[in-house]
Symmetry: C2
Subunit: 217 residues, 2 copies
């Protein structure tokens, strides 16, 4: 059994692993809002428990055990987000903070029953995949909207930025999960994108386009 704090470290290391291998001390410190020295301390503890592989000055990687633990926390986080949106009518920009707490509740029965109650969702309110109880993810095929060309069509199936400001902005524009879009033009000057959303013309900045994930179809 891990502490609340250890779980948070494992989860952050897991997410950062998708970006760099091994994960650097400073990167963890930044994400977890703490100091590098504290991270070193915790890494040693996690290493002691064989949840991470650690080589001094080289950074950490998760062991199989650590990875499974981390994935389970991600599973809980995302299931709770679905619960909050689907059952309690939270907006997609309101769920993350609460899920950060709920993800640490310890009860396998609870999470299996919640999964069932939610009808075994495959993705969370931001389009992120929900691993099953064995830690397996359904394969997802996203393309960044900013990579699309004139005339391309697709459905919004995810976002890669979870800040409330960004999500509220998308909501206001009507760019929510499941909506179909068609690219009219990628403006050469600033990379902004003109697109068609439910027969309405819309222009979004390149910065916004980079964080919208599309499944082409």
């Amino acid at each position: 059994m891990q502490s609340y704090t250890e779980e948070n470290y494992l989860k952050i290391i897991y997410h950062l692993s998708e970006i760099s291998h091994p994960v650097q001390t400073n990167a963890i410190a930044e994400r977890i809002q703490t100091k590098a020295a504290s991270v070193t301390d915790m890494i040693k503890k996690l290493s002691e428990k064989e949840l991470v592989n650690y080589v001094k000055y080289q950074g950490v990687t998760l062991t199989e055990k650590g990875k499974l633990t981390a994935i389970n926390i991600v599973r809980k986080h995302r299931l709770w987000e679905v619960f909050l949106v689907d059952k309690l009518n939270f907006k997609w920009d309101q769920v993350h903070e609460v899920a950060e707490e709920l993800e640490h509740i310890q009860s396998n029965l609870l999470i299996e029953r919640l999964d069932e109650f939610l009808d075994f969702p495959k993705v969370d309110p931001h389009g992120d995949p929900i691993p099953d109880k064995h830690g397996n993810f359904a394969e997802m095929t996203f393309v960044k909207l900013s990579k699309l060309k004139d005339g391309d069509q697709g459905t919004i199936t995810g976002v890669s930025e979870h800040s409330s400001a960004f999500l509220k902005h998308l909501e206001k524009l009507g760019l929510t999960l499941g909506k179909r879009v068609e690219i009219i033009d990628v403006v050469e000057f600033d990379g902004s994108v003109e697109l068609l959303l439910e027969h309405e013309k819309l222009n979004i900045s390149r910065e916004v386009a980079k964080h919208i994930l599309i499944t082409k179809n």
Copy 2:
């Protein structure tokens, strides 16, 4: 904002206040599974924060602020228990431990929405009243089954013992909330109670009868 630990102390002090005023250090230590010395330390801290009134060697009482905090935790605990039973099909003997964790989740929006989602329940799965968001309880009128006389009738509306062993026992006997019972005889020898439950005769020990709460009707 209080820590997880402080919240637990406040809740225990609140519950113990129903039994003795003021609440003794040792009583808290026993309930919270810790040592008297630790309780003294925490009491000082809570007193510092004006959540309890504390006189050395005399024990503690909750201040208005402390009481409201405690009631809010009780509210969350009981709402979560209702959720677990009504929505996730937990048995009434399975909910307490999980609710002990869930009661510490910090989000007013969450708890108000949960309340609504559960259709504003007035009692939890053990018949305990759920305070509203202002801390007000609906008045309950229970009588211990062990206080009833031959011929008395009533409905089971609560239990005053929450151990899994006891609750499972009641479940097995069919003595669950909402069931109507009629006293046939209180056995003089051992105080055990003969009763009628859905046209079936049943004998329960005095010990069991003491923890079943009845609303006469």
